[in-house]
Amino acid sequence: MLLLRRMMLLLISALLVFPTMAQDAPTVAVLTPFLAQPGTQLMVEAFEASATDKGWDVTVIDTNEDIAALVSRMEDVVLQGVDAIVINVDPTQIAAGLQAAADAGIPVFGMDSGTDPLLATNVTSNGYSMAAETATYVVDRLNGEGNVVMFIFEPYPPVQKRGAIARAIFENTLDITIVDAITPSFDNGPLEGARNAMEAVLLANPEPGSISAVWAAWDDPALGALQAIEDAGRADEGIVIVGIDATEQARDAIAGGSNFEATVAQDFSGIAEKVVELIESHLAGEEITQVNHYISANLVTAADLAGE
């Protein structure tokens, strides 16, 4: 009797599961408005590679900085009945989309996103610790004394965090002054925006040594600042530049022995792989309780790159 019941159960579950398993592999939609950003690109590519290895069907949707469109596209994939959604955007801005997914019972995973009750979980680097790494590097290099220019970006929480921590560290160091905290214009890309802003700062502070360091919340503005400093012929003043994210361009600049001295490498593929792993276990029916999963990041200097 018990055997019969078990056999029945197996049959039913086979009927239910098998067709879906055989006909379509799990479908996952990845939504981001920032695919043009190198970090996001790395992460999404790593995710696609890892998910495709598992035989999943992955769709990547980029809305080119348009959040409203992202919500619309999210509604579309919900309606289409994907098995899971991965977002790389501030969850508070897409509450309508998250609600649609929740109503349809589709889990949403944050990939370097943010914390939200409607997210199954979020995998990210610890922004606080990354900013602390580069800010303390600057403080150490200046021996706790000098004028620092900051490049920040408030609208995006993960980056905003970095600025807050770095600011706290600089303010906590008695002899360090923050000359300016600049949000670069995105009109022609943050690199160009930061470059223009830095040129203005250099013009306003013509004395050699009046600028000791540039701290950037990510690599693009650090590269822009580097260009401005080199073009102004002030590369030999020993201005220390640091960024975060360790993009290819940043690595080259650091390896080349320029003023750009350090950056932090987020483990983007690590984040992506963790998301894949979490989705897999969720699909297998496991409960995910942890709100955030942190993947550690490492400081990258010329010495680290010399070995590569």
């Binding site: 769709t59 980029d62 900085e65 596209r73 579309d76 309606l79 508070t92 509450a95």
Partner: protein, 361 residues
């Protein structure tokens, strides 16, 4: 030598042929074709009530901007500042929410943004005589800068925003249940429909609308025929400004977030929608019904292509190709869709347009 040709017969036939139909109704046929393809490819999800409800909500904000833009374009002008005006309206409302002002105060203040912004645009264009292209391009930058400055570049979201406000953008009017799922007619769709009807009546059934079309048809003849051209042109900009503000509030409500640049994509899409609509009218003049179809085309394309899981960049390319194709097809039918009119006015002293068509013998 004798020249024997039978081109007149050919010409006559072509008027009634498939080609002729394509040119006149090409955009509509194309739209139906696109719908048919999506339906065939996604039989389970595309042609369903929830999906169409979805589409109407997704296009509602763009619709409001495009309907208001139609009014401006009827007189032959443009308003490039609608997108940044929408962002600014959202930011103003958000800041007032943060200062714990009431919902009513915030909404009225946001609407005032469009009213005042539209007034400035209108005065610049109709009284000072700057071309609409230049004036609204300049104001676009001003509004954008204001929105960034006032918000400090940061998004406004979180607990300060009243629940009634964010619920409006997500809620709707319950239509009933379908497959055990409740189906709502979204509030945003209802709001857009109301504005559509207002514009439809305004342009088609009122003296004001008739006068606006007269201005667009021949400004000098309208003026000499007793139409108060300047105040009416100004009014169209106020209309598009208020429309933009409403759209900005809708966007804010839908996202529960006011970002200083979140409305910027609206302007180009709204103009594209109006142009798509213009391809379907006899003389190539803007008509709000056409605009509605234009808005739906853009919405359906985005929705359907996403469902077909076509790369988003390919989506952009195909949307652009469809717009150009539609306008090209209809210009083959010798409609005068004068996309460059405001630009031409910029280069030319206005008023000296000698209509030089040779239609009478």
């Amino acid at each position: 030598m004798t020249t024997q040709q039978s081109s007149s017969n050919k010409f006559k036939h072509r008027q009634l042929s498939v080609g002729g139909l394509m040119r006149r109704y090409g955009t509509l046929i194309g739209f139906l074709l696109v719908v048919a393809i999506f339906w065939w490819q996604k039989p389970q999800t595309f042609m369903t009530i929830p999906n169409w409800v979805n589409i109407t909500r997704q296009v509602s904000i763009l619709g409001v901007v495009a309907f208001a833009m139609t009014v401006v374009m009827v007189t032959g002008d443009f308003d490039l500042s609608v997108g940044s005006m929408a962002s600014l309206a959202g930011i103003i409302a958000g800041l007032l929410f943060q200062q714990e002002q009431s919902l009513l105060v915030a909404v009225i203040a946001a609407l005032m943004v469009g009213l005042v912004g539209g007034l400035i645009n209108g005065i610049l264009v109709s009284y000072i005589g700057i071309s609409a292209f230049v004036a609204t391009l300049g104001m676009l930058t001003v509004f954008r800068g204001l929105a960034l400055y006032m918000s400090g570049g940061a998004s406004i979201y979180g607990r300060a925003i009243p629940e009634t406000f964010s619920n409006f953008g997500r809620g709707g009017f319950e239509l009933g249940t379908l497959n055990e799922q409740r189906v709502f007619l979204p509030n945003l769709t209802i709001l857009a429909a109301i504005i559509f009807i207002v514009v439809l009546i305004l342009l088609g059934q009122t003296v004001l609308g008739r006068r606006l079309y007269a201005i667009g048809g021949n400004m000098e003849a309208a003026r000499l025929g007793g139409v108060r051209v300047n105040p009416l042109r100004l009014l169209t900009f106020v209309f598009s400004g208020v429309g933009a503000s409403i759209a900005g509030l809708m966007l804010f409500s839908r996202l529960s977030t006011a970002h200083p640049t979140q409305g910027e994509g609206l302007m180009l899409k709204a103009i594209a929608a109006v142009f798509l609509g213009m391809t379907m009218t006899e003389e190539g003049e803007p008509h709000v019904l056409g605009t509605l179809l234009g808005v739906l085309i853009l919405g359906v394309l985005a929705n359907g292509l996403t469902q077909l899981r076509i790369d988003t960049y390919i989506q952009e390319i195909s949307t652009g190709v469809i717009i150009v194709l539609a306008v090209a097809l209809s210009s083959l039918s010798h409609k005068q869709i004068n996309i460059l009119k405001p630009i031409q006015q910029f280069f030319r002293n206005s008023g000296s347009q000698a209509e030089a068509r040779q239609l009478n013998d």
